[in-house]
Amino acid sequence: MTTTERPVPRLVDQFELGLDAPICLTWELTYACNLSCVHCLSSSGKRDPRELSTEQCKDIIDELERMQVFYVNIGGGEPTVRPDFWELVDYATAHHVGVKFSTNGVRINQEVAAKLAASDYVDVQISLDGATAEVNDAVRGPGSFAMAIRALENLAAAGFKDAKISVVATRHNVDQLDEFKALADQYGATLRITRLRPSGRGADVWDELHPTPAQQVQLYDWLVARGERVLTGDSFFHLSGLGEPGALAGLNLCGAGRVVCLIDPVGDVYACPFAIHDKFLAGNILSSNGFQDVWQNSTLFRELREPQSAGACSGCGHYDACRGGCMAAKFFTGLPLDGPDPECVQGYGEPALARERDKPKSSVDHSRSGKRKTPSGPVPLTLLSVPPKKFCNESPV
């Protein structure tokens, strides 16, 4: 934005050195979820008994306010199933920490929609991975399309402006980008498209679900041509080598541990939301001196803020554009971190994927056991006739 007499390092270079506080912080409030999406990046399902209490969450919000973290992206699990969810949202906004929360829509009834419409500091992001029930429900589960649409209808009817529709791009929905845009326009919403990561349960389905190389080009071209008002969470920087520098909006940088991070439901801090694995665990808020201490002093984050080696990519002319791609995508597909992204636009990922690979499994898994139930009707709610055997084994809804 500004210039001076002396040349200033590019912002992206500044950001790679890390900031005093994250620009954007993802906070997963619970591992509990009423759905069991096949690609869930946090392997959510059951609540973790160690999840942070209301008071512990408020202490973190106080700290975020002191650090001037302007807003948090709240997710899960399904965050709205926490009984204190709205209390925490109100507490955050009252303490100058804006909230954007991701939901499958389960709790966005007319009453909640009206309350949300009255707030200036809350953004709502409804997850939808197909523009039709058929495509969406195959990934997110039976009834989930109807649930999301109902939430969007309630928000629009309440006068909530500019909800976000959040889409993870897969092999089965890349052809629906125009339809997603039309859906967003219909509800006065903004479309957000992000990359499918092989994180959490996503590791199990990534091979079948991730867009083909031809689809990556299709996606890139669509974003360049029609994506001016489409958000991407800056997640397609691995595709920036497909065109002119700067054609894709955003910083084109992996912000893990530098400008972003994740706080998980038990207070563990990871480098990014797609990296729930011991290798990317920076520390725990409860056992450290709070979040600021982890952010500023953890060994892992300090390492990530050092200049990174281009490794096998050092001879590639696109390295400046893609910076070797996404760390989590490489790690969870079993590729070396200092080599090409599995979806490298130069095609270097494919031979690497074809070789023998050891895919690291995260020790953090809250998936409910057993298969997802087949569709039983439009209302995904059953009354218990007997108490659940284990408290956490039931859907929290």
Binding site: M1, T4, Q68, F70, H96, V122, F160, K161
Partner: protein
């Protein structure tokens, strides 16, 4: 939710300006981050001098006076005026006289 699109305000450095009341400034080693809670827009101030200028706007009669007070000579003003103009356009700064 999102504030209505800012009216296209022309930046007149001869007028008084101040930060929009929904804008927060966070100091960083390189300068500062600005966040507008109304428009949800993030901006960057890329050096400490422009941070000083922006922070002092409220107590200065006009933008030119703020630049001079920050020790920016008349010959060096152009990039700073440009930066302030960008902030006005994105509704980060509002005119004291018309608000």
């Amino acid at each position: 939710m999102t504030a209505p699109a800012a009216n296209a305000v022309a930046f007149d450095p001869g007028l008084g300006w101040r930060l929009h009341h929904q804008v927060s400034v966070r100091p960083e080693p390189f300068g500062a981050l600005l966040y507008h809670f109304g428009t949800r827009k993030l901006s960057f101030l890329k050096n400490r001098t422009i941070v000083d200028v922006v922070k002092s706007l409220d107590e200065q009669p006009d933008a030119i006076a703020a630049l001079r007070a920050a020790g920016i000579g008349d010959q060096q003003q152009a990039p700073y005026l440009h930066a302030l103009g960008v902030l006005v356009k994105s509704n980060m700064l509002v005119c004291k006289e018309t608000q």
